[in-house]
Symmetry: C2
Subunit: 414 residues, 2 copies
């Protein structure tokens, strides 16, 4: 462990969340306090910002605005979906990163993202070590998908889950308002892990949720699905379905894929969407009742006005503790949460090897998923309910949220 003196740099990566800026606030505010940290920088659009030496000078920001970041959704300094090449095949980008780090004497690097980003973080850390450059590299978790391994949960999930649960409760009241038959199919984000769609079970737990819930952890049987919808329609006259964008048939086909070609994103993941729409259309054809498809789309990951207080605090602390650990000499680790108890809810912040979180996906345990789309077991409720407690939102000015406005003064290029 060396007592490094130099600049600290934060990058944000991947899809934003309601609380990714809360982690940024934690990193920035704590880094500004540390005597060994000489400068505090934010990389504009993550790795891309580093490659282009595009940095925001955080010392130019007021503490008041940095505090407001806690309740400002999305990524204030810009995020990125950019996958570095495999360093074994082409290390030129890693070399470029190293050159930039040396030039700006960056000795503390914080990367806030999901499992792809933890992988990036891990590779950078290894490359720097191999190159003999001392830099403490810390991952700060972030994902609405909650699919990061080794940690009990990840910042961003709880607020998105609170949005999903609250919105399903509200939709329950709206979608049952007429005495005519109706099927409402709601699509929730989650590529391979169904944690966020599972949050609809919290609304069920309150007796005001969807009738049927489908997660990507279980192969989607389209015939069984239509039978299950029909069954509820016969019993209740109304059906509300929660379906993950990522559900696949046992042959590995996404629902929209059965109907259209899919584009792929920079990481090679299929770009989804349209699952609810396709299913609603098919139900309409088969039952001749009124159908409605709803996609929570970007709303579920940016609804800072409905953030969980637990989430905002944990996201902030994850950033803060990453800085404290790095300054103590920790590197190649991600801040994670270990649950001590659910009732009362208590967690411990832990430092996990980056490689544990990188690229592996934590899914909803199959034994928590009820058969036939019936929802989740009490184990899931006990897991998720403590996470969505409390409100934390921006103060209102003119009845609208006062989000942080950073000056974003650029660091002069060297």
């Amino acid at each position: 462990m060396k007592n490094l003196v130099g600049a600290a740099l934060l990058g944000q990566s991947g899809g934003p969340t309601s609380v990714i800026n809360a982690s940024a606030a934690g990193v920035f505010i704590e880094a500004l306090k540390q005597p060994n940290i000489t400068e505090v920088y934010g990389a504009v659009h993550g790795i891309k910002g580093i490659l282009h030496e595009d940095f925001i000078d955080i010392k130019q920001e007021s503490l008041e605005e940095l505090e407001l970041l806690k309740n400002t959704p999305s990524s204030s300094i810009g995020s990125v979906r950019y996958k570095l090449k495999d360093p074994k095949k082409d290390s030129s980008e890693y070399q470029k990163l190293l050159d930039v780090f040396k030039k700006y004497n960056i000795r503390y690097f914080f990367y806030n993202g999901g499992n792809d980003s933890m992988d990036t973080c891990n590779k950078i850390s290894k490359f720097f070590k191999k190159s003999g450059y001392d830099c403490n590299v810390m991952g700060v978790p972030k994902t609405i998908d909650n699919d990061l391994n080794a940690t009990d949960h990840s910042p961003g999930y709880a607020s998105a889950a609170k949005y999903v649960a609250t919105t399903f409760m509200e939709l329950f009241h709206d979608a049952t308002v007429y005495d005519t038959p109706q099927v409402t199919v709601v699509e929730v984000m989650g590529r391979n892990a169904g944690w966020l769609t599972a949050a609809a079970a919290l609304a069920q737990y309150k007796g005001q949720g969807p009738d049927l819930i489908y997660l990507p952890e279980v192969a989607f049987d389209i015939d069984a699905f239509f039978a299950q919808v029909n069954q509820v329609l016969l019993e209740k006259g109304k059906v509300i379905v929660a379906v993950s964008e990522g559900v696949k048939t046992k042959d590995g086909k996404y629902i929209p894929e059965l109907f259209q070609d899919l584009k792929k994103d920079a990481f090679g993941h299929a770009q989804l969407g349209g699952t609810a729409q396709v299913l609603a259309q098919e139900i309409g054809k088969r039952t001749n009742v009124k159908v409605r498809a709803i996609e929570f789309s970007l709303l579920q990951r940016s609804a800072a006005h409905l953030a969980s207080k637990v989430d905002v605090e944990e996201a902030y602390n994850a950033g803060k503790k990453a800085v404290q650990a790095a300054v103590r000499g920790t590197t190649d680790k991600m801040v994670g949460f270990k649950r001590i108890s659910s009732n009362p809810y208590k967690i411990k912040y832990v430092l996990l090897p980056l490689k544990l979180a990188a690229n592996t996906e934590q899914k909803v345990p199959l034994e928590w998923i009820l058969p036939e789309g019936k929802g989740l077991t009490q184990e899931f409720i006990d897991y998720a309910l403590p996470l969505i407690q409390g409100d934390s939102k921006a103060k209102l000015v003119d009845g609208l949220p006062r989000f942080a406005k950073l000056k974003k003064v650029r660091v002069p290029k060297k």
Copy 2:
């Protein structure tokens, strides 16, 4: 003016809002206090509930649950989209309503809805008068569309507007997070009046709103639209568009209508939806940049967690004042709002002839709409901003809203 003694009945009609139940709370709680009102009933699914003598006995509910209605979204007693026949052609349904009113000695009738409902209310009132049956009939306004005539605004609009403005601010942060070009097209409800889409201008006013706003008041020029999107794309690399579901070409064609057949609802209105999707697809084809279509769908009218305090209070008072006026002998009137001043915001509750509100639509003044999709004038901001002030939401239990749970004990059929 007669001193009528008998039962009071409330019906809810049309698409629900975040605060339609606040008006119900106002009617119920005030009616329970009135010595001349012997029973308080809620009609299950509006007019249909009356025709089927399906009434909830509100005296069986606790005052505490009735108070919780203020922050419970949608229609607690069930709404309906049912158009009575023209009484000049077929008065059988009116006769049936009259028979039911007589049988249950209903002397006070409150109907909470939009302009179709005010028309229904007006026709019922006239038929009763012609038949010599004394019943004070009062309309209570409700619409997220804000298209009811003669009143400054209608309960339901402000909360939906607050949702639209807040959500556009959040989307602004999310949709600008990457450094890659992107066009996001967001569809807002509003069949013929653009008030709700115009609320996106409140986010613009905060510098965090859409770049382009299209209301149904102005003929939609699809070529000009693509040129305007392109212009912003060139200037900023990102475009956020707010478009009303109801925009039409100068030939009167809805956007999805250019691509598919439209179904009609019970009132003969075209069922819309898909405007954003169609536009986003076309932009994608023409520009080859990433596009995303978002529909606020039912969320914008049921998001009670984001209700405006001003709206909740006015909705409650509209219900309460309808009862007070009816008991004083008023009939055939709708409670409306007259604005005294915008800064400070001050309104007066007024009683308007039902026929003034019935079936005519109040639209956004053309002089408030900027050309080329650029948004709204300061006049609109001054009009709308006072309406979205303050928060009013259900208390949280387990981190989720505690909505009203009515017992819904049915009145025995006579």
